[in-house]
């Protein structure tokens, strides 16, 4: 083995160690036996998972997160898809500006987006709620959904849409029966990425919610009131669910690559 190869392997291992260090710690200490959820490790126990499952507020917050994630991602995917479709199929001089506007939220801090919404919602009389959080999550995920779908929309589908038109299908019919089925891997990938990000999002959820909170906000408030033993277990469970999403996204993309 050459020195270069050895160095490469060593670097790879070190980098992986660095990247996984906090996650490994988290998972390890979720199994901590003892009252203190911090080092040193005292032995294996599932007691914090029991504590997590017995914590109604945490379970409830998890439900809220799931609701917001699914609803906001569905809206973001639908809006992003329609926008991409309209832009790809109708050439306007305005398109470049519209695209710039749709992508702009990516470059703005979530904190600023959240504060802007807070001010506007105050004026509109929309109270701090899960609905308000969902609206904010659509704002931040719309650019991603739009970009993912837009990159997949090409002449390929346009030709088949045209064929459908020639055979008498309306725009809507061609859209639903031709374009959507052809794009479903991109649509689903967009939806899942948006859902993962929404599920995890903190600042917008923190500023725009009040009584009903999402999981990251609940974890935050637990963190502030001292180290709660169920925290590590909650974190591990959140991690496991995120991993499931990632595997799903990967399988989808592998599938679309094979077919593509």
């Amino acid at each position: 083995m050459s020195a270069r190869r050895l160095f490469a392997i060593l670097y790879l291992l070190l980098a992986l160690g660095f990247i996984f260090l906090p996650v490994v710690m988290l998972v390890q200490y979720s199994f901590q036996d003892g009252l203190v959820p911090v080092p040193p490790f005292r032995g294996f126990s599932l007691r914090w998972y029991d504590a997590f499952l017995a914590n109604d507020r945490l379970i409830h917050a998890m439900g809220n997160s799931t609701l917001v994630a699914i609803a906001s991602s569905a809206v973001a995917t639908a809006l992003g898809f329609l926008a991409a479709y309209g832009m790809a199929r109708r050439k306007r001089r305005l398109n470049l500006w519209l695209q710039l506007l749709l992508m702009a939220p990516i470059a703005v801090s979530y904190l600023i987006i959240a504060m802007g919404l807070l001010i506007v919602f105050n004026w509109l009389g929309i109270s701090r709620s899960l609905l308000a959080v969902g609206i904010g999550h659509v704002v931040i995920n719309l650019p991603l959904c739009f970009a993912i779908v837009y990159s997949q929309l090409g002449e390929h589908q346009a030709n088949i849409e045209r064929a459908a038109h020639d055979l008498g299908a309306s725009d809507l019919k061609a859209l639903l029966l031709i374009t959507v089925p052809m794009l479903w891997p991109a649509l689903l990938a967009g939806f899942l990425i948006a859902a993962t990000l929404s599920w995890d999002e903190f600042v917008i959820a923190f500023l725009l919610s009040k009584f009903e909170v999402t999981m990251p906000v609940m974890i935050w408030s637990m963190l502030r009131s001292g180290l709660n033993p169920a925290l590590n277990a909650a974190g591990t469970i959140v991690f496991a669910i995120s991993i499931l999403f990632v595997i799903l996204i990967e399988l989808l993309q592998a599938r679309s690559r094979r077919h593509g």
Binding site: V23, M25, A104, S109, M115, L142
Partner: protein, 287 residues
Amino acid sequence: MTALSVRPLDLKRWATWPAVLWTGLFFLLPLLIMLAVSFSARVGDRMLGAFSLDNYAAFFSQGGGVYVAALANSVEVTLITTLVSLAVAYPLAYILAYGVPARWQRLLLVIIVLPFWTSYVIRSYSWLLVLSEKGVINQVMVALGLFDQPIGLGNTRGATVLGFVHFFTMLLTLTIYANLVQIKESYRKAAADLGASPLQVFLRITLPLSVPGVAVGAFLTFVLAIGDYITPQILGGSRELLLPQAIMLQISRQANFEMASAMSMVLMLVVSAAFLLFARHLRMERV
């Protein structure tokens, strides 16, 4: 049938507008209102409609320059983060693109960025476990004799940078790798055939051609790091404030939206400046 006689909806014409309307109403409008609010003064609890530069003046002078210090801290931490993350991520992406058999690359990439998908709050908090006085870093350092006794490593700027570097190493590895695999192998082979050493091939072929991926990743790192509240709040503590922490204090403690808006505008101005700096390279990517 009457339903069919209705003129069919021109789908292609309006399909773009719901998203534009949403972004306009819930993103652009709030920003414009914040811009307006940042230019209005506040007397006690009342907001005055009149145009004023009070908030911006206060930003640069009030509280012995705490706001300017927060801005300076943010820029410093973000620049350090971007540079260190690049230094860690580039070799990783390079090894992945050129040192790993093609069919394993995808899987390895997914594994490398797996913690990217874990909860942001929890990921930051997990570093506290690592950095704590009885945590693994202290154990190793004491065992190696580098530390005389365990040191609390949390609540420092270093902890903030560490948490950031962890997150952005994953992001940068993605963008740089995506760029590196697109560089045609024939370029590097041709250079080598013409007598270039491996170092020369890297410096004169691979590195220049990977600039777009580096620029995109560095820009994203800069934008996301400078606007982030969670990592500095959890890992850095409140000993030294970064700008997002200072903004959050204005919102949640003082409910001073005028000042918070002005601070946000300053933050956006810094991000815009960064965009202009990177714009040349960001545009290159599209060509």
